[in-house]
């Protein structure tokens, strides 16, 4: 009797964690990006093209979120001319790390190639 209860608790807590994480990404990123013509997937590939590895990509993204500048943007001039530079993020470091982890996991290439 104890075992099924414990299993249920674990499953629920896992699911709820995942839900809250997805929510963070959905809430902080997808909301605004939905209006842009370039998908988050394509932007991720641009970051990957420039920064190479997981740590580099996350560090690059984090820096840009905190200090957005035309000069360090990975997007094309045409895109920036049309849509401008994003506003400086209001998220704290923990929140940024959290959404970047989700972002990386969602679009990473590793383990997806066949």
């Amino acid at each position: 009797m104890v075992k099924p209860v414990l299993l249920a608790v674990l499953l629920i807590s896992g699911a709820s964690t995942q839900l809250s994480s997805s929510d963070a990404y959905e809430r902080y990123c997808v909301e605004c990006h939905r209006e842009l013509p370039t998908s988050l997937q394509r932007m991720f590939m641009r970051y990957l093209l420039v920064y190479g590895g997981e740590k580099n990509v996350k560090a690059g993204l984090k820096h840009y979120l905190k200090y957005p500048l035309k000069e360090i943007s990975v997007m094309s001039d045409l895109f920036i001319d049309n849509y401008g530079i994003k506003q400086k993020t209001t998220l704290n470091d923990t929140q940024i790390d959290e959404v970047l982890d989700i972002y990386w996991e969602r679009f990473k290439v590793i383990d997806k190639l066949k």
Partner: protein
């Protein structure tokens, strides 16, 4: 060769990079990693994390551009643009080993050619540097050859006439003069014989015979007795019966040179000793001697350690060439100021 393999692998890396570029732009609609029958490949990111790999040998040496494991050759290509996050593209081909044989062939071939070229060049340089020395030796040889031809007749005439002269009717003063002429003529005669031996007779075939050394030594000692008397030297002869099979002409040159040296380089009132035993002949003197450093060079041609006496410095070189020819060992014991001892053993 490995450079050919390198060129081929670089070409494959270029092809694969192009394919990665295409895949990058279509990711994640397309997720099939580009494959090629000619090679296998792997991609690693900036942090050396494997993105995808088809290669057999995963122990990648990221800091080497090209390397070989026992069965494969690997090329590590660093990308400037990280398609799919790729920093390192690894191309792997099987190593057939055929190029190694080619390399060895080339190394040996080119090595031999270079060796020959350097050898010829070295030979040319050696000849160039030695030319002045060789020229002077040739000049001296030619001079000696030409001069000796002209010496024989007058020398024979002088010696024959001295022998024929009746000394009984001579006054003492004239006898001494005649004796001096005799000594001078015999000295020149020894020199003449050495020079003709060097220039004309050396190449003649040997007529080996069993020689009674005791008799020969007596004969030659007597021949040089007038020379010895002029320096007030005394002979100390200790001669046992002994024989040797040798060309008489050559052995005479050996004895003559050793005795005449023992006389020439002796002190006045000194002793010339000749000791003959079975298979050993010692000729010693109580003369000026030589220092130890000079001994190894005393058999060299044209080397003379004392300019007070005449000669060309060819006597001992002749002795050495003859004793070497007949496997006779020659040992020199000399002490400066005390004398020299030449020991022949056969």
């Amino acid at each position: 060769m490995l450079s050919d393999q390198r060129a081929m692998l670089t070409k494959y890396a270029y092809i694969q990079t192009k394919r990665l570029k295409v895949l990058h732009h279509f990711f994640d609609e397309r997720i099939d990693y580009p494959r090629d029958l000619r090679f296998k490949s792997a991609i690693y990111d900036f942090e050396l994390t494997r993105i995808f790999s088809l290669i057999e040998d995963e122990n990648i040496r990221f800091h080497e551009e090209i390397y070989m494991t026992h069965k494969y050759i690997h090329l590590v290509k660093t990308l400037d643009e990280f398609y799919l996050g790729t920093k390192y593209l690894i191309i792997e081909v099987e190593d057939s080993g055929a190029w190694r044989g080619e390399i060895w062939k080339n190394i040996i071939g080119y090595g031999l050619i270079s060796f020959l070229i350097f050898m010829l060049f070295g030979l040319y340089l050696a000849k160039l540097f030695l030319k002045p020395m060789r020229d002077s030796i040739l000049l001296l040889d030619r001079f000696i050859k030409d001069t000796t031809h002209e010496l024989n007749t007058p020398l024979s005439a002088i010696l024959a006439n001295i022998e024929m002269m009746d000394t009984d009717v001579m006054v003492e003063k004239n006898k001494r003069k005649l004796s001096r002429i005799n000594i001078a003529a015999k000295t020149v005669s020894v020199l003449y014989k050495d020079l003709t031996y060097l220039t004309l007779e050396q190449e003649k075939t040997n007529h080996d015979e069993v020689i009674d050394i005791r008799e020969l030594v007596y004969d030659r000692a007597e021949y040089f007795s007038s020379l010895a008397q002029s320096k007030h030297l005394e002979y100390n002869l200790d001669l046992e019966d002994a024989t040797i099979t040798i060309d008489r002409r050559k052995f005479t040159r050996v004895i003559d040179n050793l005795i005449s040296n023992a006389i020439k380089y002796n002190k006045r009132h000194g002793t010339v000793g000749i000791e003959l035993k079975e298979r050993m002949l010692v000729i010693w003197d109580t003369g000026i001697g030589l220092n130890e450093e000079a001994i190894p060079f005393m058999f060299d041609r044209y080397i003379r350690f004392n300019n007070a006496e005449g000669g060309f410095g060819v006597g001992l070189s002749i002795v050495k060439s003859i004793v070497d020819e007949y496997d006779i060992s020659i040992e020199v014991k000399s002490k400066e100021g005390e004398g020299t001892s030449m020991v022949l053993k056969w």
